[in-house]
Symmetry: C2
Subunit: 219 residues, 2 copies
């Protein structure tokens, strides 16, 4: 885990073009996920991953140039999955009022984070310390896009016209609250949902008290 100082090659070494190597890559990724959630980042080493996947280390290094690249691939898989989930829900939510739509999206995000809870948490952590793979960046941008178009639907009732910034802030804030809550142990999804939605609505609410607004403006 690290903020890379010397940027390193992190791209997968090759796309698995044949069925055999495709299966190998899938086996390696799933073994990596299992070790992460079962034993944590400390016990995550390439020898253990290769052993659990039933291949040799050399074989692992044929597809992933180093340990970071393997972790990055897991992060990318997760990011794409999250994007797909949220995009679908955001799509079905466009016709709902702001609060109801937000609630659906937040619920989906919480469900996603709760499913393979330990894995999701570790991957969130890993992601923060790794240069992003193109796939991850694309999935992140697409997620922002999905949230943006949802918010754009309600632009009239929002106090800002900078939908992109609002979407980015919403995602940051929601992630912080959800990660923060799940880190403290098992959670009540509905209560967490309430808290997150309330925070986002607060952020998006057009009418903070006049005195507060004025005070902010003039400080």
């Amino acid at each position: 885990m690290s903020r890379p100082t010397t940027p390193r090659a992190i791209e997968p070494r090759k796309a698995p073009s044949h069925a055999r190597s495709g299966a190998t890559v899938a086996a390696i990724l799933e073994a990596a996920a299992r070790i992460l959630e079962r034993a944590g980042l400390n016990a995550f080493n390439t020898n253990a991953v290769a052993a659990l996947a039933g291949v040799s280390v050399g074989s692992l290094y044929q597809y992933f140039p180093n340990k970071q690249a393997l972790l990055a691939a897991l992060v990318a898989r997760e990011a794409e999955d999250i994007h797909a989930t949220v995009a679908t829900v955001a799509d079905t939510a466009t016709t709902l009022p702001l609060a109801a739509g937000l609630r659906r999206i937040v619920a989906a995000a919480i469900a996603r984070q709760t499913r393979r809870r330990d894995l999701a948490r570790i991957l969130d952590f890993v992601e923060a310390g790794l240069p992003a793979l193109p796939e991850t960046q694309r999935a992140g941008a697409a997620l922002l896009g999905a949230v943006s178009s949802f918010l754009a639907r309600h632009a009239a009732s929002l106090p800002t016209h900078d939908i992109a910034t609002a979407a980015a802030d919403c995602v940051l804030v929601a992630r912080a609250l959800i990660d923060g809550a799940t880190e403290r142990g098992p959670i009540d999804p509905t209560m967490l949902e309430d808290r997150v939605v309330r925070t986002l609505l607060g952020y998006l609410a057009p009418n903070a008290t006049r005195s507060s607004r004025r005070a902010v403006g003039t400080l």
Copy 2:
């Protein structure tokens, strides 16, 4: 860096009781901080730290049982510093209106995070993957306490009576926004201040739109 699976002794091995060993510990900690900010977590190894501190590895291990404990001690130092800063500011802010007080506190937090920017960011990251030292926990609790008492001053205009939760959420949200912003490169402190304060005020605002509230309540 890791979420510990087998909890490890992380306490400093001994309190530096004499002037000489106190100086050694201080030298080690400062060397560790310099390596972190100059070369990142990747290049952070105990041999390099000992060399830069001008002591032998063995000497380092006399005071810190392992690498994690050394990192944890740095995190604790930072947490105590942040608490002291925020507590002081929160204290002078109690007589101000909500928005103005929040702005002062947020400004202090941003200044703190900007000072040794790389170090602060890395330590935030490290903290997320480490069991907290008692000092860190105490500093965290004290920071929450300081924010809580500030908020309590304005309890009348807040929509919740759960000040503790509100304070925790505010800290989480502020950290997420500040860290998120600083990670994207140098920032305009005033603009960031605006964004964070606006978000917190939104969260704390007593009057979200009626329709939003109702929708949330009935979903």
